[in-house]
Amino acid sequence: MDEVRKKELTEMAKKLRIDILEMLCEAGSGHSGGSLSMADVFSYLYFSGILNVDPKNPDKKDRDRVVLSKGHACPVWYAALAEKGYFDKSHLKKLRKYGSILQGHPDMRKTPGVDMTTGSLGQGLSCAVGMAIGAKLDNLGCKIFAIVGDGECNEGQIWEAAMAAAHYKLDNLIAIVDKNGLQIDGFTKDVMNTEPLAEKWRAFGWEVIEIDGHNFDQIDSAIGRAIETKGKPVCIIAHTTKGKGVYFMENVCDWHGKAPSKEEKEKALASLCGEGAE
């Protein structure tokens, strides 16, 4: 990937992280860690030009779909949708508030650009399978992206969906697993070990690509390869750091479902600019 583009995407990821921190602080609750870990992937998805979407026509029939199966990380999605122009950025300040279009978990009936209602873990990937089948039937030629959590992979339904996607040879479906190694109750390896994760997806009939989920070259080449892949679905296992970019949130379990206070937010914003890292 050329350096100019990489710089733009890096800048955008930083913007998304700032948006995430600002909106969560304002909301007073919500999920910091799993939103920050996906900022680079979302920057790439929405601002590299890879997605065929139109913020002015969010429901256009042949659009590429995004399903945030790990719905609690919606702040990163809302930030990307706002920056992309789906709705005014002022909405971000109303995250989780009464009457807001930005619900605590994604609601496709309330938020433009949200392709699937999620929040109950494990269900989004199945919907992505349905979309991928439908897109093929209708010859829409669109791609379906599903973002899945590594803790979420505990859910049996993920594997039911995985089986179906391979069975139906859904090469228009790309799952991105946010492998940040943490879930609510601790490290994934301690709470419920999903290893060997890549082998599991492979055994289920998927093409598996493992990358550093904060490296744009790797994200770019993985998604490029995924789009080229024919005859089977592709699972990109993105190795990430939960809370990425904010030194005191990085890899700290407690920041899964917590929003920063005003002081913490200021510290976090400084951290994004490279200050205060220990």
Binding site: G28, S29, Q103
Partner: protein, 320 residues
């Protein structure tokens, strides 16, 4: 009404005491042990705590299996997932098998708040109430959590206990009587009776005060057990007052209101009003804002009371 405390906080503490007293108690959770407060038990008794990860269906199956070796498993997760995600496991494995599993779910109702509709359980009472063998308890406050849990562990068979996320006012006392299936009269009155469960008990007491200041004397009855419903108390109250209101932080479809209506429709026709969420999903917002929007405050009970009293005046109560 002194002090407020969340029923889940009370649960975490009681669970530890129970663990000390009864070595057969084991706890199973699905990656939400901090939120359900079973983490307290996990810290004290790591060898008797099992985290199955984000896998509620497996949670229920594992709990059933544990019960069949003579242990007393307590399975905890959020109410939507315990009763919704794992419904078939609860039905076909736990209830049909009459397994000795206690399901203690937190985050019941709309007061879950900011997380939004996906996490607000407003149909769990209905789902659990339709299952044979299952008992359904909704403690009104922290004191009642302890009593409910102890009572549930004392009996054999599946029990569903619904707890909440936010602090609620204390409406019972340490020594007030608790018996599964026996409703408690908290306030006397003969113009009308409010049958309330969970956090709506305190709202009902507030409503009764307001009504009293307007010259209407209403009884308030804490229906902590929705199944088995205390038929005797409900029917006796219906006959005595001639007008009933049910109040629940739950859909009016299938919950306490429905249970009472089922009974009245076959046994005793009196004016009945239901306060609850009216067949709609919730949304994000503060618990207070949502209670107001979805019509489950003391004010809504007062309004419903006037409607029901009007019906009582103009209609005819028929009891046999």
């Amino acid at each position: 009404m002194e002090g407020t405390r969340s029923t889940r906080d009370a649960y975490g503490e009681v669970l530890v005491s129970l663990g000390v007293e009864n070595p057969k108690i084991v706890v199973v959770d699905a990656d939400v042990s901090k939120a359900t407060r079973t983490s307290l038990f996990a810290r004290q008794f790591p060898e008797r705590f099992f985290n199955v990860g984000v896998a509620e269906q497996n949670l229920m199956g594992v709990a059933a299996g544990l019960s069949l070796t003579g242990l007393i498993p307590i399975a905890s997760t959020f109410a939507v997932f315990a009763t919704g995600r794992a419904f078939d496991q609860v039905r076909n494995t736990i209830a049909y098998g009459n397994c000795n599993v206690k399901i203690v779910a937190t985050h019941g109702g709309i007061t879950v708040g900011e997380d939004g509709a996906s996490h607000q359980s407003i149909e769990d009472i209905a789902l659990m109430r339709v299952l044979p063998n299952m008992k359904v308890i909704v403690p009104a406050d922290a004191f009642e959590v302890e009593k409910a849990l102890r009572a549930a562990v004392r009996i054999y068979g599946p029990v569903y206990i619904r707890l909440g996320r936010v602090p609620v006012p204390t409406v019972t006392s340490k020594c007030s009587h608790f018996e599964i299936g026996r409703a408690n009269v908290l306030r006397d009155g003969s113009d009308l009776a409010i049958l309330a469960t969970g956090i709506m008990v305190s709202e009902s007491l507030k409503a009764a005060e307001i009504l009293s200041s307007e010259g209407v004397e209403s009884a308030v009855i804490n229906v902590h057990t929705i199944k088995p419903l205390d038929r005797e108390t409900v029917l006796e109250t219906a006959k005595r007052c001639g007008a009933l209101i049910t109040a629940e932080e739950h859909s009016i479809v299938g919950g306490l209101g429905s249970a009472v209506a089922e009974l009245l429709s076959t046994e005793c026709w009196v004016a009945l009003g239901m306060v609850g969420v009216k067949d709609t999903f919730g949304e994000s917002g503060s618990p207070k804002e949502l209670m107001k929007k979805y019509g489950i405050t003391a004010g809504d009970i007062v309004e419903k009371a006037k409607e029901v009293l009007n019906k009582k005046k103009t209609g005819r109560a028929v009891c046999r």
